[in-house]
Amino acid sequence: MTIQQALLSGDEAVARGAWESGLRVACAYPGTPSTEILETLAGFKEIDAQWSVNEKVAFEVALGAAIAGARSLYASKHVGLNVAMDPLMTSSYTGINAGFVAVVCDDPGLASSQNEQDSRWVAPFSKLPMIEPASPAEAYLFAEAAFTISESFDTPVLFRMTTRVAHTKENVVTGSRREIALKPFATDIAKYVMVPRNAYQKHALIEKRLLKLAAFSETSKLNILEKGDTAKLGFITSGVAYQYLKEQYPDASFLKLGFIYPFCDKKIARFAQSVKELVVVEELDPIIERHVASLGLKYRTKHSSFRIGELLPEHMPVIVKGGRKKEVPSTARKPVLCPGCPHRFVFSVLKRNKAIVTGDIGCYTLGATPPLSTLHTCVCMGAAVTFHEGFRRVLPNGKIVGVLGDSTFVHSGITGLINAAYNGVKGVIIILDNSTTAMTGGQNHPATGKTIRDEPTKRLDLEAICAASGADNVDVIDPKDIRRLDALLKQRLAEPALSVIIARRPCKLIDRERLPMPLYSMEKCKTCGLCFGLDCPALGKTAEGYVTINESLCAGCYLCAETCPTDALTDSSKTGSCT
């Protein structure tokens, strides 16, 4: 038998492991660093895979499938799990029928997120077991363990990863798929109908289940004890922190927690007694630390300054010595809207109109970065619409515009629009419809009319749903025509109406057409700098304030030419001249 080996990311590995474990139904909404889990699963024909409208929907569909009898999986990023918290909390009460695993990927260091929450807290809050692999190879192995635990204890299992596990690639020795028969579904109202009387009974069972899970945690192979050469230094750790420590302290003893909730108290206590000096090292919040403290054990841990941001290998000696974190300001080039990005047209118009822009989650959040600086709030998915309403209630005559993407609008903007119409608010919402979920790499969603496998399906009609939600005006416009967009925005802002403007132009990563770069005349340039305010990566500035155009980056969108007040930059296609 030949050994099958593949270079897999943590996301791909958990997907592969789940597929081999007989997974049938998988649901997610894209979110970095979890997106590749469903993308990988969609490649397996045995899996009924979907991009769901949002995480709450994804969780419910997958849980429903598990109760109906198929091994099922949900995946999202940490903030996505917040959206699914409602069904998650009560899924602890219903339990499952066939195995159900909820994968959540945290983003320590905020590579691409709006907060840095530690989703491990969800485990004690929901009273659900949680496991955490420390590498892609472990993610693969833990997938099967997760389904086994789920079915043995009649519980959803939380499967937590972080960016450095989800987006690390490693050799993984893979196997083949094992088909698991559907579990018959038997109606059981006491188990699946969470009315107060049933839920009360279930709560008692949950407390018993937690005790059983804690006993299981004591013997679980997911918690690994490694005796060091000396009994001096001992680490209790989990996730990627283990890898950093193991490399730098190969002789130390380790208790690496893979079954991270409920805790293996006896094992922890025995380990603490076996080492001279106990150090708890975990990324983000002090969760293991507080538990070790509650057991009355003597330990040291990282300085509280290390709770912020991701841990790095070079932090380990500082942490072990009890030092503080030295903040090193990032020198990385900031992410920026692509040259030719359709969002930039809209932001140029909003900037010109000095609008207060309530924003949302997507590429267009980059509209907040200077010098564009034209997006003024960003909290969570869908909040562009609801913040717009909140602002309007206080500043009814303000120039307030809510701005969000097509995928985000479908995810949770629709409810806000219905709310605005129902509660009689006026104003302007712009849907930046670039026909994809761009920031996570271009996934389909209901308004693209294509499934996760790019097959045609029913397309959500954005214009119709906006009108049905109660918008007084629904305009569709190509944002590249910024003069028309500017006139339309001014008109809608002046009217006592609730208006939606759908600015429709495909993402520049879909429509890769490039036109010749604009013409530039130094003689006409007054070095006013208005073009630099567009934050286009293709435009450079000389020491004297003149413009240089990077031909390899320029997409030929001519927004700079439209913006230039002195015609120093001109649309080469309009003038008809050549370079």
């Binding site: 080996q5 270079l7 970095t32 660093p33 590579a111 691409s112 590498s135 960016t163 450095r164 987006h167 690390t168 690639k169 490693e170 050799n171 990627v240 283990y242 890898q243 950093y244 193991k246 490399e247 790095l312 290998p313 070079e314 020198t331 990385a332 080039r333 900031k334 992410p335 920026v336 809207l337 692509c338 040259p339 590429c363 980059l366 920031m439 996570t440 790499g441 990566p537 980056l553």
Partner: protein, 175 residues
């Protein structure tokens, strides 16, 4: 040039830091090298951050291989190679390079180390890198084939040109 059929996995750990800007193919280059190392019998870890790296933003990939790798990240001052595709990023991240490590900035700024067509610079650089690494040619070929969907023959040519240039650099006396 001779290539050994069986490659002996050495005990040392190789740390290769790839960097550049979004759209340059940094991640693809790191991926090809990672697959070549895996196909040569090494334990590989490669780590990078996806997501907000739109065109023009910084892109880094940490690649480590050896008999057993724990940390997916390279520590500052420990990279054997800094493979940079953009000089600003190379300078910014030069603190990752160890003393005596190979800084690809020297190749980036030297017109002698350039393929006939700039579109194949990445594979040319991988060829250069291959001259320093204990990975057999077959492993590179399989890796290139698995990741390059367009212009495979041109990419193969760029890789070969790069590897010859690299070998001349490594042992100037030979060939």
């Amino acid at each position: 040039m001779t290539t050994k059929k069986k490659n002996k996995v050495t005990d040392r750990t190789w740390n290769i830091f790839f960097c550049g800007t979004g759209g340059q193919g940094v991640l693809t280059a790191a991926e090809i090298c990672a697959i070549a190392a895996m196909n040569s019998g090494y334990h590989v870890k490669k780590s990078e951050v996806h997501g907000m790296a739109q065109r023009g933003g910084s892109v880094e990939s940490h690649l480590r291989f050896g008999s057993r790798i724990y940390s997916p990240l390279i520590e500052p001052k420990t990279a054997d190679f800094l493979v940079c595709f953009q000089d600003g990023e190379g300078k910014r991240l030069s603190h990752y390079l160890k003393k005596g490590g190979v800084d690809f900035l020297r190749f980036l700024s030297d017109p002698r180390y350039r393929p006939w067509d700039v579109r194949f610079s990445n594979t040319y650089f991988l060829g250069l890198l291959s001259a320093f690494l204990p990975l057999p040619l077959e492993a590179w070929e399989v890796a290139l084939k698995s990741k390059i969907k367009r212009n495979l023959s041109d990419n193969d040519r760029a890789f070969t040109e790069g590897s010859f240039a690299g070998q001349k650099f490594v042992s100037p006396g030979k060939e």
